[in-house]
Amino acid sequence: MNHLPLIIKREYLTKVRNKSFIIMTFVSPLIFAALIAVVAFLSQLNKDKLRTISVLDETNMFEEVFTNTEETKYTFIEGVDLETSKELVKNNENFGLLHIVKSQDSIDIVDNVRFYSDESPSLSIMSGLESTIEKKLSNVKLKINGVDLAKIEESKTRINIAQENFTGEQTSKIDNILKLAFGGAAGYLLFMFIIIYGNLIMRSVIEEKTSRIIEVIISSVKPVQLLMGKIVGTSLAGLTQFAIWLVLGSVILFVISSIFGISMAEMQTPQQEMMQQTMENPEVANELQTAFQSFFNLPLFNLVLAFLFFFIGGYLLYSSLYASVGAAVDNETDTQQFMLPIIMPLILAVYVGVFTVIDDPHGTVSTVFSFIPLTSPVVMLMRIPFGVPIWQQVLSFIILIGTFTFTVWIAAKIYRVGILMYGKKPSYKELYKWIKY
């Protein structure tokens, strides 16, 4: 008797109708949007503040290199000593005072620059000042050594190495960034999905135990069926929630950006500014075009298919583990000791993905971890955009499915015994015994 559709339907409906689930679904995007708005607002506040930095330049070399920007204004103080300048800066409520001391050797002032301020300056302010001075100094030194600065400027070249693999597919740096984004997003999505909805499954198993309905249910259906129904039903609820988040999120973002339209456009981080500058550069515009091209050059079909398979496979594997933890314990506080071995490989997978795959997608570490079943879904998803041979994908998937079958078998065993055990917190040794029953 196949009751799976019935169980899936019930699990889905109870999850979706649950009040906290509904609230989560509709409030989360609002909170998220509010956060973005707040961040946008705050960064704009920050921006409106114009800093004035006074420069006491005893060498008189730097007047033309400190140019005012939107955030910082430089004023030069002349003909007074350090103490008077300090007073002056304080009285004018300037941000700080940059003191460049003259030494015997006019060029060697490296150790003779000081910055005085009330608040300690941010890293970016300091490095901005440092690089300005460094640049000027090295120019001066070059000149002294008889180097023509114009020639140096002339000899600057940009190079963009064209990449091509042996089968003739062309790639580029932008390609790689795109691939990273793809793989990273897929892996991270899977990670989040497992954590959120794995917990949901675990809780619903515990709920059946605490409400004591479990024995009634499994006198009607096989535990494996109940387990699968739970996993599938909860996943569908999860997908529904994700879809709603996606739609709501984009609507809200659209609304926000049309209300604060102009201010959003003005809200730019330094990186964005840099991006914009580079985009105005004709060469880079070309690159942008190749980026679009390379998007279509990605093994899209393979990506989508692999995403589906590994996402589902990985999710099923982990959720069967979550379910057996739920079956083994009586209440949520007891789950901690069993959660660690589940979370660890997951986190390991993300770390391997972030640190190793980016570095060398086809290196030994990445390859090995993309076969180990508990890490393979995340790591493989991150590797695939870089082109993984089909046989590797298939093999890894087969291993994954094999492991899944095994864990479901184990989980069903633990489940069958555990759901009828009340009152005591089992040890690992006991879990092992249950598997043998």
């Binding site: 008797m1 009751h3 019935l6 169980i7 019930r10 109870t14 649950n18 709920e207 059946e208 409400s211 004591r212 309905i213 024995e215 009634v216 249910i217 499994i218 006198s219 009607s220 259906v221 096989k222 069958r416 009828l420 009340y422 015994k433 043998k436 029953y437």
Partner: protein, 309 residues
Amino acid sequence: MNNNLLVAENVSKNFGDFKALNDVSISVPKSSIFGLLGPNGAGKTTLIRIINQITMPDSGQIILDGEPLRPIDVQNIGYLPEERGLYKTMKVGEQALYLAQLKGLSKQEAKSRLKHWFDKLDIGDWWNKKIQELSKGQAQKIQFVVTVLHRPKLLIFDEPFSGFDPINANLIKDEILQLRDEGATVIFSTHRMESVEELCDHIALIHKSNKILDGKLTDVKRQYKTNTFEVGLRTENIDGLTKIIEEKYSILPATFKNLNEDLKLNIKLNDNDSSNDLLGFLTNKAEVNHFVEVIPSANDIFIQSVKSN
């Protein structure tokens, strides 16, 4: 054999080193109420779970209606476990429909039967309530309805009356008897011996994983009778009379309600004596105004057989 709906043949089950059931065989006749008795932890629940295919036996088999138990047979069994409950946040009607469908009923069929039962038990207005809004006794009623709704051949009740007030307990008892009369076979597990006396036709007693006793309740009682008679004698000389009887029979003092302040004794028959011999002996000595054979109660049998094992 054909008169038995359910037969357990040499069922054994171990949990690790712990022997939960040791070679237990029982036969449950059709349309009877079968009392499955035993002290706590004896193995009753394990046997019940094996019958429900929740756990598998290590050896032995279960025969239902002449055939070895199949997975589909869950539809022929209705089980009310001792550890029972319902989804707290689900509505009564929805939940009952779900559980009925799991037992193989179609949605329409389940709905019409539920309506019938809800009307019968006068609980129709609970349909849209959540379980957590009901009292424990009310939830138990729902649970009972759900157990019997699919009209199974075999009903298994584990402590069905716990949580019910006397009125509702009576109501449920009558329902159980009616189900039996309509042809259902009932396995009934309880520690309340007075309901065993009231309901059971057959009993089996499990103690420390072994079956130590089974059979028709009247047969078991016959087997456990001690040929003892409760006797009330009217006499002026109580001590003298006691002495005379004591010389011939082994006696114990007895207590029972009687209109007169008499000599009250439990007298055990001598071997090869009949009750008439005793009665004859007594009528010669005094006026007999009370003479009843002592029938062991289920409670006595339970305690006696568990202690002697």
